[in-house]
Amino acid sequence: MSEVLLSIENLVTRFYTELGVVRAVDGNSLQLGEQESLGVVGESGSGKTVTALSVMRLIENPGRIEGGRILFRGEDLLRKTERQMRAIRGKDIAMVFQDSLSSLNPTLTIGEQICRVLKFHLGLSHRERWQRAVELLAQVGIPEPERRVKHYPHQFSGGMRQRALIAMAISCSPQLLILDEPTTALDVTIEAQIFELVEGLKQAFGMGTFLITHDLSVVATFCDRVVIMYAGKIVEEAPVTELYDRPLHPYTRGLLGSIPPLEGGKDRLDSIPGEVPDLINLPPGCNFSPRCQQAGERCWREEPPLEAPAPGRRVACWKAGEPDG
């Protein structure tokens, strides 16, 4: 792995709701190298987005980051003041959200919104900003950028809006780009175009990307390394190719089993029985044990530690690597 860009160590983020304490992120550690693409995969509520928002330090009441360190280029983001964080957000670390329509301010033109980011982080004169906004739109493949820059979000199609958001995100040449399910609201052809675009920008800007998704097939084409999360914890981590060849955690195997094979052959897709556990009342032992077909006595009692069976691989399972029962 090259230089470490982002290193999350034992991050704990909890939400203190009226119903109880939600352990959204429960002591996770992960690293992202410079220009590396990391995929974070998990079901809804597994803590992917909360991890990203913790990096951004945008966890709001009743949530709190309770422990751990988030090192970005060696500096602990959790020790920064709010003012210092504002200078980092959007400039060094940028983020793109899932829903492109609601992520843009409906009453401002695309150009104005890009210019605001530029003005805040880079200064520049009014003319320079507009010029840069047009360049950025061109860079993300929006046709007729001179005309488009004056349009409002509702005049853009979904794919174009997502492109505009990406343009806004890369406007200050960030080193880390967090993509939170950027293509969930888009159809498959547009999805492919967006990832092609991000791949190109990644090369051009030398960014590291942190892709949050629940789609393992997206990860396969776009990421170098994958982290699988379940109920607030990392359960497996592996380089992409190895994960598909030899998944160690039963949950990962379940996820891979629910992707339809290209050649057909199966009439029914496998699914994982049961539901994601309630984050307020987690089961004893392994969080996945109630749904795991291989779970044994130990799994119900003790929580498995995240261990490294091979270089670059981590897995949290007592029965890691054992064949399906």
Partner: protein, 322 residues
Amino acid sequence: MAKRYVQGGEYELGAHRSLLQEFWHNFKKNKLSLAGGAIVLLYAIMAIFAPLIAPYNPVEQFDAPRGMRNPMPPLSRDVEGRLFLLGTDKFGRDILSRAIYGTRTLLELAVGSIAIAMVLGVAMGAVAGYKKGTWVDELIMRTVDIMLSFPTLVLAIALVGAFGIGSVKLGPFTLSNLVKIMLVIAITYSPRFARVMRAVVLQEMAEDYVAAAKVTGASGLRILTREVLVNTIPTIIVQGSLMMATTVLTSASLSFLGLGLQPPRPSLGLMLNEARDYLFWGAWWYVIVPGGLITLAILGFNLLGDGLRDSLDPRQARRVRR
């Protein structure tokens, strides 16, 4: 609408409208709100050009010819043969001219007090919404609650009682009676704006675009002033136009009660008050002219407000309904 295919397989709509065109397109669909707009426009013209339209000086008294006495019915003439289209009042003043000038003061009052109420209320509501959950929020909103617990007219009467009738001396400044009444009405209505504003600010602050702005490094205050406030404008405009109708009524009521504008200043509310004594003498024109003008103004503002609500943003229709 023509769809144009562009690079990348994504299409766009051929015609792009500005937000203003969009608004007009939606607004003109509703004939009732167009009618409301027309009424308001007519009143505005009448108010602005009052000196040109009014046939006589509104405070000048004319003498009834032999065999008649003031108030004279419509289309009667005075001693010198001057025609009074809508008749005269008990002092022999031209009702048409008084009604036109009365409309002018009524609109001045309504517009002025709504403008002040909006500024006060928006400021209170925005601060409360931004400081949600803190003591600042509590202080502002509980004050608002207290003010709203009084019926508007009662609160207005109490405030006039506190200020006194007529112009008010405040240290080195003297508030004219008109400005004082504006302030009184503004104070009674500002809590409503504050409540609506706070709700809209809270709602907007929860939108994704605010999170997206935070991600780009904008501070909370910057987000409030630059991003959120623009998005509250439609709601506030709608609230203002709907409230305009009730301020018209409140200011007319104050005048009617003798707590508002003072004679001889022409005021529709005062005219109604004076006309009351002549109602059973058969002087129907004396009541109908000011009463009708007040009613029509309220109707116009309400229709316009409804139309604005539906057309400024379809989402707002659900939001503002009271």
